[in-house]
Structure formats: C-alpha cells, structure tokens
Symmetry: C2
Subunit: 444 residues, 2 copies
C-alpha cells in the first residue's frame, strides 16, 4: 500500500524521498493520510508539500485538522493558503471555525476579501449562494477567440473551472456561456459573441441546493451560473461540489426517514453522545405516540378476553400495515426528492395507490385466510375478521403512506419525516380501531 | 412557459418559427416535450431539428420513444443517428430494444461497430464496462502541445469529453492523462509527455458502478479511464453518466430498504401491476414472518389473562424496538453504500452501538417508568417490567440493527435488505420473548 510507504518514509525521516512520493499522489489521498497523523508530524509533512498541492490538501481536510493547521502556521503561511483557496472552500472554512480562528483568518485577509466574505456568509445554508465560488472565467462578447484563449491562458490557473466561460455585459449581467470546447475547435478570428449560447439554465442565489442538484443530474452540466435578482452573475457552482451535495442530501433523507436528526459528519466520525442525541428525541415521540395504541387495547379488553385468539394477530396486522405504508411513503418521498413527483401529481398518486392497495389487500387477505384455514388455528368468523382487517388496513396504510409526504410538502415540511416510523405509529392506531371494529361487528 | 409556446407553434404548423425556438433549447427539454407528443407529431418535430441536436434529443428519449422513432425512420436516417450516437448511449439503446429493433440497428451498423457492440454487451450490468464510452481523446507522449491541440481541434467535436485526454503507448496501455486545462495554459512547444500525469486513478471493466460512483464523489473527477486486465485503455466514464448512476443507486437502495424490489423506471411511469409486483412478495414474507410473534403470544395466553394490562404495552414495546433497530441499520446501510463504513469496522460499530444503546435504553426506560407512575395506569411491578423490557429490547434492537447489514455484506448480500421492515419482524419476536420472560420472572 502507498499509505504504508508514506508512513515508513516519515518514520525514517527520509524527507527527500517523501516529497517525491507525495508529489505523485492525489490531494484527496494525501489529506486522508495527514488526517491520521498527530499534529506535529502532519504539520511537518504539510510543509514539505509543494505550495499549490498544500492548499488543495488543506481544502480537503476535516474542520478539526484545518483548525489545527491554522493555529500552528505563521501569518505568512496562512496568508498564502487563504490567497490560494477557492472562495467556496474559504466560506466553508469560516463557517466551521471557532471565533478565535475566524479572527485569525479575517486579520490575514484583504479588505476586499472581508467585504466579499461578509456578503457570502449571508446566504442561507443549503442555498445555491452558499455553494458557489467566484473563480470563473469571464469573457466579453466582442473578444476574438484568440483574445479569449489568451485571457484563459493567463488567468486559467486560478479558476475553479475554465471549461465553461461566462459572458457578461458591462453591468455584470449574464449574457450567456461559451464552452472551452467550442473555443478550442473554432477559428481563432471569430468572436466570442458568435459562439455565445444565450438560452442557458441558471439558478438564483437563494435556490435550494436540492433543486440545483436535480438540475445538474437532469442536464449533466459541469458547472452552472448563479445570478442575483438583477440577473447579475454572482458565482458558479461546479459538479464536484454538487456530487457531495447529492451524497449528503441522500444521507440526510435516509436519516430523517429512519426518524433521526441528520448527523453533521460520517457515522464513524460521530461521537456516541452525538449519535444518541440524534435518536433519542424521535424515539421518545414515537414511544409516547404508541401509547395511544395501548389505550385502544385497554378499551377493548372485554372483546380480547372473550376472543383471546384475536390478540395473537395484532402484531401481524400492525406490522403488515406498517410495511405497506412504509412502501408507498418511501416511493413518494423519493419521487419528491428527485422531482419525478410534484405536488400537482397528488391526484395521480392517489389513484395509483388506490388501485395498488386494492390489489395488494385482496392478495394478502386471501393468503392469510388460506393460512388460517389450513392451520386450523382460527375459526371461520375469526379468520374472516383477520382477512377483512388485513385488507382494509393495507388499503388505508398504503393511501396514508402515499398522501402524508405530499401533505408535508404542501405544508413546506420535509416530506422525509413522513416515513416508516411515523407512518407505523399512525397505522398501528388505525389498525387496532379497524380490527376491533370489524371483530365487534362480526363476532357478536 | 416555453413548452406551451412550442405546442402552440406545432398546432399552428408554424415550422419556421418552431425550428428557431427549438434551436435555442436544451436537448433534455426538447426530448421531454417530444416525449408527450403523439407518434406522427413527434416524428415531424424530430425531423425539423438540426441533425446534431436530433441525435442528442434521441439519446435522452425513453426506450418507448426510441423504439417508436427507430420503427418510423428510414434506414438512411437511422444510419445517421447510429453513427453520431455516443457508444455508451448506443449500448444502452440496444439493451433496451426488442429483437426486431435490435436487428434493424445491427443491419444499419458497420462490421466494426457490430464487433464492438458484441464485446460491450458482454460486460455485466452495473459494471464499469457497461457505463463506459469509447469517444475519448487519445494522445501520444511525444506529441507537442501544438500538435495535441490541433488533434483535439480536428477530432474534438465527436468526443464525449475533450477536457481530459488519455495518453497511451503503442500497445494501447494507459500511460497517464493530460488535462485540456494544462494543454491550454502551457507553452505550445512543450511535449505532452512533460505534462503527463502518471499516478492516476482508474477502474477496471468489471468494477461495480457503486464503487466507481464513490471514486467520482471522493475525488471530484470529470471523467475516469477504464482499463482491462492488461491495463489497456478500453473506455472512459464521464461524470454526467455517474450522476445518473448515483441517483438510481440511491433510489434502488431506498426501495430495497422499504422492502420493495427496485423499479425499472420512475414511480409515475410505472404501471399499477408493476408497482404491486414490487411490493406483494415482500409483504407476504413479512406477514407470514410475523405469525411467529402470534405464536409467542398464544403461548403466554395465561400470563396475559392474569395481567391484562401487559397487553396494552405490546405495541409500544414492539414499535420502539423496531424504530431503534431501524435507526442503527439505516446508518450502517448508508455507511456501507458510501464506503464510509467497511467490514473491517464491524468491531468499532459494535462497540459504538453498544454504548449508544445503553444510553438510549436507560433514558427510554426511565421516561416510560415516569409516565406509568404518573398516570397510575400500571402498578410498581408492572411498570418495572415494562421499563426493563423497553431497556433490554432497545439495546438488542440497536445491536441487531447495526450488525445485520454488516453480516449481509459479509455474505455478499445487499445490506439494504437488512433494513426497517425485516429488522422489525425479527425485533418483534425478540421483544415478546424478552417481555414475557421478564414478566414471568417479576410478576409470579
């Protein structure tokens, strides 16, 4: 393994060979190795890195490691890092650091940088504005291709991407984009304006990052421009940052769907206290919510003591109902997240789930009827009661599961909370009411 | 809306204006509009499109629309489409089409294309080989930058990406990559070999698409080379295809986690029968699995008839246990999918979940004890029974939930099936055994 070779060279203090090995490596991998080293050693290796590599490695560090490095480096070193860091990484950094480190960063920034930082910190988290960076290539319509390429050659090294270039007018209003591909394959005396792509898809600073991610996935864009309300270009978002957003949004959705508050970091990096805190409040709500079902059972104690066999089927009815509701709610939550389903599809969803639930409930009802008759565990009327209940509750659960995420969306809540655990709690209470209602009617 | 304007122009048969409007639009949007039109109209509009746009629009069509178009166009038109289609889209197309359409495609392909198609169809679905395309820029070490740029200018239009170029030796072995960025900003008399980045990250044809997606997310790559066992370059994968893979993999995981067979297409595009088929087998398994809990209840009928109050807490205990198990299994399933958690972390996970479950179970046990005492619903010993059961079952469920996905991974099963619904069924049975065990001990 490469990692072991690196650790060996550090051990041997063979810094010349170390520098050589590191220079070939991907910055993400270097940052992973340094992350594991203790403070002094990692600072030493960090300082061995070529300066441009060091900055990229720094951008990939965890907040803890970044704090460690900033505390340890000189003002001169810090100034260099801050100067080279892409602006979106700079904003991420400032948002993560404690006050004393933020102070150190701000004192080592220029006045212009501080003004920009203040402006960017105002964008809501999870908005397009909070993801964008300002290192893009800006061209003018009347430039020739040759001039444009010369401009890119001169400034390209410090840009987040040079593959899509942005054309603005003298008021900074976004006029369109030109791809480097088109610049490279076109005649050098043509004008940028001739290659201009004007009907472009852009986002506004306050758009939600989930919406931005869906646009990237839909169109396969490498970068997207972000404009303010006056259609002035304020930044760009690149696909690599969006890939992280997509991963994070999916992780967060899954955590919410399992009744947990989303974690700040990965599972293994989270502490026991943090992991407990994300779970306990939800479990308390669900546990106390489930006491409703207990109340219903107590109310029907007489029925249950006459027909003790009814008891035995309560878990099965509640479980199957919960699972059906979980299935439909999962499909709708996911559909809403990928924007394949929208609020105006509510009628379609209802109609679809109605038909599905009818089919599913008939089949489940028949199977459980068959099983009860074959095993001879329950008499005719009890078997009928159970099958009917199963049918009705699967229908109800499927429809409730399909509709609640849409209702949440309508109320501007996160649809992901209307998932399995909450649905189960609701369906459980419904199931008992239906069960005892049917039993009371049929058995007395 | 743009869409309405387009439909209006079609209605008015104003094809000149229509052509103009369409020429500004993104291909993805055009394909969405055509998707909704009936066969003859969509074919008419498809033929109005500039040829290069038409091919891109075609690539974004659903399989049904592609079949419709291929059936309708002339051999000459089909030859053009096939010639311009990127190879990965061509393979996707062939995989989706019925036999008669595949025949029409193959008769309109060249001999070389047919050989390549046959080779590519052999890669397993969900492998890197099934995602890659062959339209990449290939450079040689001894080219000058000027020669390289001239080569790109000449061939670039037909390449999936020109932003990363691949350097191979005369046996097609991959030697490294050069970015267009570096080519553009370097002196034109330097050699490609001088800019060569040799320590690159690549995948092999049989690597799983999930692994490939994780590499893209981790490193933020725009494209990745795919090599065969002899390290020969066989194709490249681009980020836009990976974004779709990520979305699909997440959707599939969520569907499996909710006990459903993954759908082939989106929720709204799936039929009622299809949606029912993905749910029914799982529900049957879960329903019949839940009959175990029924058996346990029947066994302890005497206990329940003596202490009727015990009944009322069964749903709460089962539900809270199920939710705890669902929480930990979700975290581990997601961790395994993003490769933040691996099999060798099993010990760490166990130790973490043990401590979390201890904390959670103490708190839940105390809260439910307090509630029972305050409401005076249950006596001291019954309250103690319930709290102890709650504590034990939350611990068991959390650990079972954390461990089962790892066990599935170890057995090369998909960890996503070890989620909520299955965990709930297992935990329900455990919960009853623990509950009645503790009750029998404490109450008699």
């Amino acid at each position: 393994m490469k990692d072991e070779r690196i650790l060996e060279l550090i051990e041997q203090k063979n810094y010349i060979e170390l520098k050589k090995e590191l220079s070939d490596m991907n910055e993400v991998d270097i940052s992973e190795i340094l992350e594991e080293l203790e403070q002094n050693t990692s600072l030493l290796v960090f300082r061995i890195l070529p300066k441009d590599v060091a900055v990229e490695v720094f951008a990939h560090f965890s907040a803890e490691k970044q704090e460690e490095i900033i505390s340890a480096v000189s003002d001169k070193e810090l100034k260099f890092i801050l100067g080279e860091l892409f602006f979106d990484d700079m904003i991420d950094l400032i948002e993560e650091m404690p006050a004393n480190i933020v102070n150190k960063i701000l004192t080592n920034s220029t006045h212009e940088e501080r003004v920009l930082i203040n402006q960017f910190l105002k964008y809501p988290s999870h908005s397009a504005g909070s993801l964008m960076t300002i290192e893009y290539v800006e061209l003018k319509k009347n430039m020739t291709i040759q001039e444009a390429l010369a401009h890119i050659k001169e400034t390209g090294l410090s840009k987040e991407t040079i593959y899509t270039c942005y054309v603005t007018d003298n008021k900074k209003k976004l006029e369109g984009i030109v791809s480097l591909r088109n610049l490279v394959i076109s005649d050098s005396d043509m004008k940028v304006g001739d290659l201009l792509h004007e009907e472009i898809i852009y986002v506004e600073t306050h758009d939600d990052q989930g919406t931005v991610a869906n646009l990237f996935t839909k169109y396969g864009f490498m970068a997207m421009p972000v404009v303010d309300k006056e259609h002035r270009l304020t930044g760009i978002i690149t696909f690599d940052d969006i890939m992280e957003v997509i991963e994070d949004e999916n992780t967060e959705d899954m955590q919410r769907m399992a009744a947990m508050t989303p974690l700040e970091t990965t599972y293994l990096d989270s502490g026991v206290l943090e992991l407990s805190k994300q779970r306990i409040p939800w479990l308390l709500v669900l546990m106390l919510g489930a006491s409703v079902t207990g109340g219903i059972i107590t109310k029907f104690e007489n029925l249950l003591s006459t027909y003790a066999i009814l008891m035995a089927f309560i878990p099965m009815i509640m479980n199957t109902g919960g699972s059906s509701g979980n299935q439909s709610s999962t499909l709708i939550i996911r559909g809403l997240a990928t924007e394949d389903v929208t609020l105006k599809d509510a009628g379609k969803v209802l109609w679809k789930e109605l038909r599905i639930s009818l089919l599913v409930s008939v089949i489940l009802g028949l199977v459980i009827y068959g099983k009860n008759v074959l095993t001879g565990k329950a008499g005719f009327m009890v078997s009928l009661t159970i099958s009917l209940t199963m049918g009705v509750i699967v229908m109800l659960a499927t429809i409730v599961g399909g509709m609640l995420p849409l209702a949440a969306k309508k109320l501007k809540l996160d649809p992901a909370i209307m998932a399995g655990p909450l649905i189960t709690t609701i369906v459980d209470a419904l199931a008992l009411v239906v069960y005892f209602g049917i039993a009371s009617t049929l058995l007395f």
